[in-house]
């Protein structure tokens, strides 16, 4: 290479360096693309990312104690729960100051119902004390007056809960979500008669896997037929697949009730043909069987459609070629056709599994006690007990579980091996 060519910079017609000009054009291109997708990006951030982050945050957020009882929280710092005695007068004086303001703002009952999740009885303790606070003597001494209002103020457990939940952030919800609790001696499992969440997580995973597998077993042959029958027949079949898909979820679930219950259509028929006796009617609903049957039916289209769209793209000439080389029908299917349909299986299975793991209305209606999912408890804590922190912690764990399974799937099957068509 000569010096002359190395020093010479390629320029465009208007004299600018070609490299810079190209970079500018590319940058402009990128910027335009970004502007074009900006509305979508903003929409996704606002309606998807922000709510999820907000929910994750609720599972650790615990500002309510420090906000409602600021002085008490500070005064409690020097109190040692191991002393086995309630705090001294100074803490009670701080409590009086805080509660007087809280009662004025009517926030004391809110704190009471928050702490009642941790210790039974605190809800009424705060309500009761709130009613008495205006009648207390402002000059003190306060400890006796509080003990007169409710003797629970003299118990170490009450103060221990207050102290333990005074930081602005807590791991308490996550501990509850794995059936654990923090006591004076550290973290331990809850008593056996209160353990439920880990068990429900396990059951949710197990049932979701069973539902995914049964969807695959039922859906694969149907998708195969759809992809290979003549157009007229396959269109009709497609409508049969889509029709239930368009029907309301509740209607389909109720229909299963009518079919499966002990005095229902299927049992009546079995009794009528003398296969079972009237006294031994099958129990097919309000248990796991009911959940599996109803959810398999509801989620089946989500398995069939991706399978179908992948199978549609598999060229029939491969199977023909295999057969012309001497393969039997089975070998041609198993060695040639099936591997090409695996991306469809992957897409369908991931779709069905992720939908199944978060289902709650169908298990609630047909699951009885042995067929309910973790999402039923999340719904309960959102709408009924108002323990949103615990609901958020359970939801976070469900989200993490799905992400972990997704990664495992990526490792084993490969995410680029998933196709929706």
């Amino acid at each position: 290479m000569s010096d002359a060519t190395a020093g010479q910079v390629l320029t465009t017609q208007d004299g600018k360096p070609l490299k810079a000009s190209l970079a500018r054009a590319l940058r402009r291109e990128k910027l335009r693309a970004l502007v074009l997708i900006a509305p979508l990006l903003l929409f996704v951030v606002l309606t998807f990312v922000a709510p999820i982050v907000d929910m994750l945050f609720r599972s650790v957020e615990n500002g309510i104690v420090a906000d409602t009882l600021p002085k008490t929280v500070v005064a409690l710092q020097t109190w040692d729960p191991r002393s086995g005695e309630a705090p001294d007068e100074q803490v009670f004086a701080a409590l009086y100051d805080d509660l007087a303001i809280a009662v004025e703002a009517k926030t004391h009952t809110r704190l009471g119902s928050r702490l009642n999740y941790e210790q039974t009885g605190i809800s009424s303790l705060f309500r009761k004390t709130g009613r008495r606070i205006n009648r207390m003597d402002e000059a003190g001494p306060f400890k006796d007056q509080f003990l007169n209002a409710d003797k629970k103020w003299g118990e170490v457990e009450t103060w221990q809960v207050l102290k333990q939940y005074s930081p602005r952030y807590t791991d308490g919800y996550f501990l509850s979500a794995v059936d654990a609790q923090r006591t004076i001696d550290g973290i331990s499992l809850k008593p056996e008669n209160e353990q439920i969440y880990l068990f429900l997580f396990g059951r949710t995973l197990f049932l979701s896997i069973v539902i995914t597998i049964s969807c695959l077993l039922l859906g694969y042959p149907i998708a195969f037929l759809l992809a290979h029958l003549p157009l007229r027949t396959s269109n009709l079949l497609m409508i049969l697949v889509l029709l239930p898909f368009w029907t309301s979820l509740l209607v389909r679930t109720s229909a299963w009730k009518v079919l499966l219950q002990q005095q229902g259509v299927i049992n009546d028929f079995l009794v009528w043909i003398n296969l079972i006796s009237d006294a031994n009617r099958l129990v097919m609903i309000n248990n796991q069987t009911g959940t599996i049957i109803a959810m398999t039916h509801i989620l089946l289209p989500f398995m069939i459609l991706p399978l179908y769209s992948v199978m549609k793209t598999i060229s029939p000439s491969y199977v023909r070629a295999a057969k012309s080389l001497g393969a039997t029908d089975w070998t041609a299917f198993w060695r040639v056709y099936f591997p090409q349909s695996v991306p469809g299986i992957g897409a369908g299975a991931v779709l069905v599994f992720i939908l199944a793991i978060g289902y709650y209305i169908t298990p609630e209606l047909v699951g009885g006690t042995s067929g309910i999912f973790i999402s039923n408890r999340i719904a309960f804590h959102i709408s009924s007990s108002l323990n949103w922190g615990l609901a958020a912690a359970l939801g976070t764990m469900l989200l993490v579980a799905v992400l972990v399974l997704f990664m495992v799937y990526d490792r084993i099957v490969g995410i680029d091996n998933v196709k929706l068509g």
């Binding site: 009952t109 008669n193 709408s383 009924s384 007990s385 108002l386």
Partner: protein
Amino acid sequence: MKLRTVILAGTALAMASGAATAMDMTIVSWGGAYSASQNNAYHKPYMELNPDVNIINDESSAEAVAKLRAMNEAGNVTWDLVDVVASDAIRLCDEGLAMEIDHDTVLAAAPDGTPASEDFGDLIVSECFIPQIVYSTTFGYRTDVADWGGNTPDDICDVFDLETFPGKRSLEKRPINNVEWALLCDGVAKDDVYSVLETEEGQAQAFAKLDTIKDQTVWWSAGAETPQLLADGEVVIGSTYNGRLFALIEEQKQPVAMLWDAQVFDLDGWIIPTGLPEERVAAVKDYLMFATDTQRLADQAKFISYGPARKSSAPLVGQHAELGIDMAPHMPTDPNNAKNTFLYNYEWWADYRDDIDAKFQAWLAR
């Protein structure tokens, strides 16, 4: 030019008509026959008297607590009046989501001048709560069960008696009421039920009693389930709200009868959400003054078999609007039905609900 004039004129017209006509009032309730009874007894007559008010029915009471909290956090409360059960009213009041009211100034006095607070009496269980009806959770049973050999259950403990009354039962999928009934039938005196339930042993005792019928029980979560299960013959005896059983027996003529023994009274009523602008609060209060007076509460009982919450309304309860039968004998408060009743302890459950519910769900799952 012409188009602009038209648009301008149209806007002006719309604004003028907006000012002159309806102010919308969103009232939240339970839907179904219950909302219909409120519509007939309260909303329609009120709108006739006040043509400028337009009442919008929202059927979200089942999720009211969670939705109100979300609205409050978002700072945009779109509901004017909400129908909730008493325990939810207490919870909303505790959370600062419902407005505390002075019952004597907001509500009308009885026709004889008794102030509202006395007319409603003990049923005002929270400063935020405006009682409307008394309903009860009680049992219905099929009258055509061959296995029972002609016996009919007349005692709450017959629910736990699988020998005399074999067959499936249905109970609500929550601890409230079930644990009380279990203890009553395990030899605990009525007055001691809650003090026994406060102890670990008492709770274990209740669950042990429920264990005896657990594998014969279908658990419901919506009030409509038990009537359906009874009608289909899926269960032979089951608990639900008395109004649902009334509809099943009197309107659908199913072979079902009421047990009534140890029925648990509960209350349903209104709360006003906090965070409403003043003029909306004033409008709601005007509606409440009308809709909770003695005559209106008695009118509601023409359409549904729930007892009016005012003492002064009881003598005014008449006949069912369509069936033409006397409603008094179908009221949970009727002396014949209320021979043995159980009072639901709201304060107690506000404290113990979280704890016992966790244990109950763990017990159910096992």
